[in-house]
């Protein structure tokens, strides 16, 4: 089986989501080509070529591909699709945006957010916020799949795939990029962090969130997450939301602070190796999934934790 894997990158860096999706791809077939679509994306292509299990890297560079706009990117993937049995992407905001467009243009169903490859045409995927796992068999001859990366280990380096240039498709000219407001931080990214500390509605304000959560995160070298309630209230930026409709994470250690444990939040973190919950309500549902629960006021417990580390 020949597989096309869409790389997730920002031209300069290949995100480790790609290495994780690659692991899923190699379970489906052995001939995996990685597509790096962008502008000035040589660095990302070089990184993709080094991943073990990649047999070829395709690079398409064009101004229309610089910002991952769905229409030109989908057109490119469709143009390349003839040679492949399956087309995969990590379920990042780019993958979720473009892959269903590709699937519809190819008239195939998409299998969203697979967590396991059972066989080359059969996959497991969560439904109902992860409260049920479906095993589905695709009957389409060409498969379009997104991969929940928290469920797959990253492929290692050690490859040396050839890099081939391909041309972009004609830009349908339906949309244009206006600007980005991306959060920059020295902290690890949520989806690749080994430790995550998350805050909920209990934090009460953006100032308190910063004052209480961030020092502990810094001590631990942790990424910072948040519940929807904390994001909606403006205590934390949208890209920190963990959950059914936010990011799905599975770090070694997840520390939930002042988060009640709604099913939509659990959906994004219950596969973490070790879960710690700090909540002043001993009945909070988060304690039902926590390995270690501390019934305490987080405004006292977290400064204490910061000192103890």
């Amino acid at each position: 089986m020949a597989i096309l894997l869409l790389a997730d990158h920002d031209n300069a860096h290949l995100s480790d989501q790609t290495a994780k999706a690659l692991t899923a791809a190699t379970k489906i077939g052995s001939d995996v080509h990685v597509l790096v679509a962008g502008a000035g994306a040589k660095a990302a292509a070089d990184q993709a070529a080094k991943l073990a299990g990649v047999s070829k890297v395709l690079v398409a560079e064009d101004a229309s591909l610089e910002n991952n706009l769905a229409e030109p990117l989908a057109a490119l993937i469709v143009q390349l699709s003839g040679a492949y049995d399956a087309i995969l992407a990590a379920a990042t905001s780019v993958g979720k945006n473009v892959m269903p467009r590709v699937a519809a243009l190819l008239d195939v169903a998409q299998v969203s957010e697979i967590v396991e490859v059972v066989s080359p045409d059969t996959f497991k995927r969560p439904i109902y916020a992860g409260n049920a796992i479906q095993t589905v068999q695709s009957t389409d001859t060409k498969k379009v799949i997104t991969v929940r990366t928290a469920s797959f280990a990253a492929a290692s380096e050690g490859g040396s795939a050839a890099i081939e240039t391909v041309s972009a498709a004609a830009d349908p000219g339906l949309s244009s990029h206006v600007g980005d407001a991306l959060s920059s931080s020295d902290r690890p990214e949520l989806t690749s962090a080994k430790i995550i500390i998350s805050g909920g509605r209990a934090l009460g304000s953006a100032e308190k969130f910063k004052e209480v959560i961030l020092p502990v995160a810094d001590k631990l070298g942790a990424a910072v997450g948040a519940s929807r309630a904390a994001v909606d209230a403006g205590y934390a930026p949208n890209d920190w939301q963990v959950g059914q409709t936010g990011k799905v994470v599975a770090p070694q250690l997840y520390i939930a602070c002042g988060i009640s444990g709604a099913i939509q939040h659990l959906a994004g973190m219950k596969d973490s190796k070790v879960i710690v919950a700090i909540n002043k309500d001993e009945e909070a549902p988060i304690f039902q999934v926590a390995d270690y629960g501390l019934v305490a006021d987080l405004f006292e417990a977290l400064p204490e934790l910061e000192k103890a580390l």
Binding site: P100, H177, D232
Partner: protein
């Protein structure tokens, strides 16, 4: 301009669903059903655009069983003008939903279609993007802000690293994220009024769409569970346990 808003009837977000013991699916009998939360956000956004004088009519459409009429009536009670029910008892996959919606769009000729980002039952996150592809329109997914201009719209999108703003040509498909707005509740008088608003019934065949599934569901099972662990008495005990017992510090 007309705005078309698809709304899906799903298990209410507060319900903790149960997997059937024989692995054949999820227990849906006697479970509370509601409008998909993202679709409430879509309806709200369409109504606000209408109230701001930027849209003339809001049409809601649902594909599902006869009971999906309740969901449509909820949208009408919120303030939508008209509804279309494409009735079917089959489970319809996103691709077929998108094909039916394309048919509805060709008949209604909306200037904007506002779709939910994700249905909270199948968690597919596909339909809006597929519809946009089938129509050959622009897509603005995961929107936290929509600004309508002349023949175009500016859409601020929630992406992994923060926010991205794009401009899409109209007509376009936009999908809604949680921060776009806070949906209103329907008032009692509006719920009464909604009963008399027009609701058109159609079938998938009216649009020439074959709804046969492309994905065979072989099994539905419970996720591997997690057991509650222990309660620690102090921060010191927590740190100690994380170091020695869990080995994660």
């Amino acid at each position: 301009m007309k705005i078309l808003v698809p709304v899906k009837r799903v298990v209410d977000y507060n319900v903790k669903i149960r997997v059937k013991a024989d692995g054949s699916g999820v227990e849906l009998a006697n479970v509370k059903m509601s409008m998909n939360p993202f679709d409430e956000i879509s309806v709200e956004e369409a109504l606000r655009l209408k109230e701001a004088g930027k849209a003339a009519e809001v049409v809601v459409v649902s594909i599902g069983p006869a009971k999906a009429e309740e969901t449509l009536r909820t949208a009408l009670a919120m303030g939508a003008d008209r509804a279309v029910l494409v009735e079917t008892d089959d489970a319809v996959e996103p691709l077929a939903v998108a094909k039916i919606l394309k048919g509805v769009a060709e008949a209604e000729k909306p200037g904007l279609i506002i779709v939910g980002k994700q249905a909270i039952d199948d968690d597919s996150n596909q339909t809006g993007q597929m519809l946009s592809a089938l129509l050959g329109w622009a897509q603005g997914t995961f929107a936290s802000k929509i600004e309508l201009g002349e023949g175009k719209a500016k859409v601020t999108r929630e992406v992994d690293g923060g926010l991205q703003t794009i401009e899409v040509k109209l007509p376009a498909v936009v999908t809604t994220d949680l921060r776009l707005n806070e949906p209103r509740y329907a008032s009692l008088p509006n719920i009464m009024k909604a009963k008399k608003k027009p609701l058109d019934k159609k079938s998938p065949a009216d649009f020439g769409v074959d709804t046969a599934p492309r994905l065979k569901v072989l099994k539905t099972e419970e996720p591997s569970g997690r057991k509650a662990g222990v309660k620690v008495k102090s921060v010191a005990e927590l740190v100690e346990k994380l170091k020695t017992e869990a080995g994660v510090l």
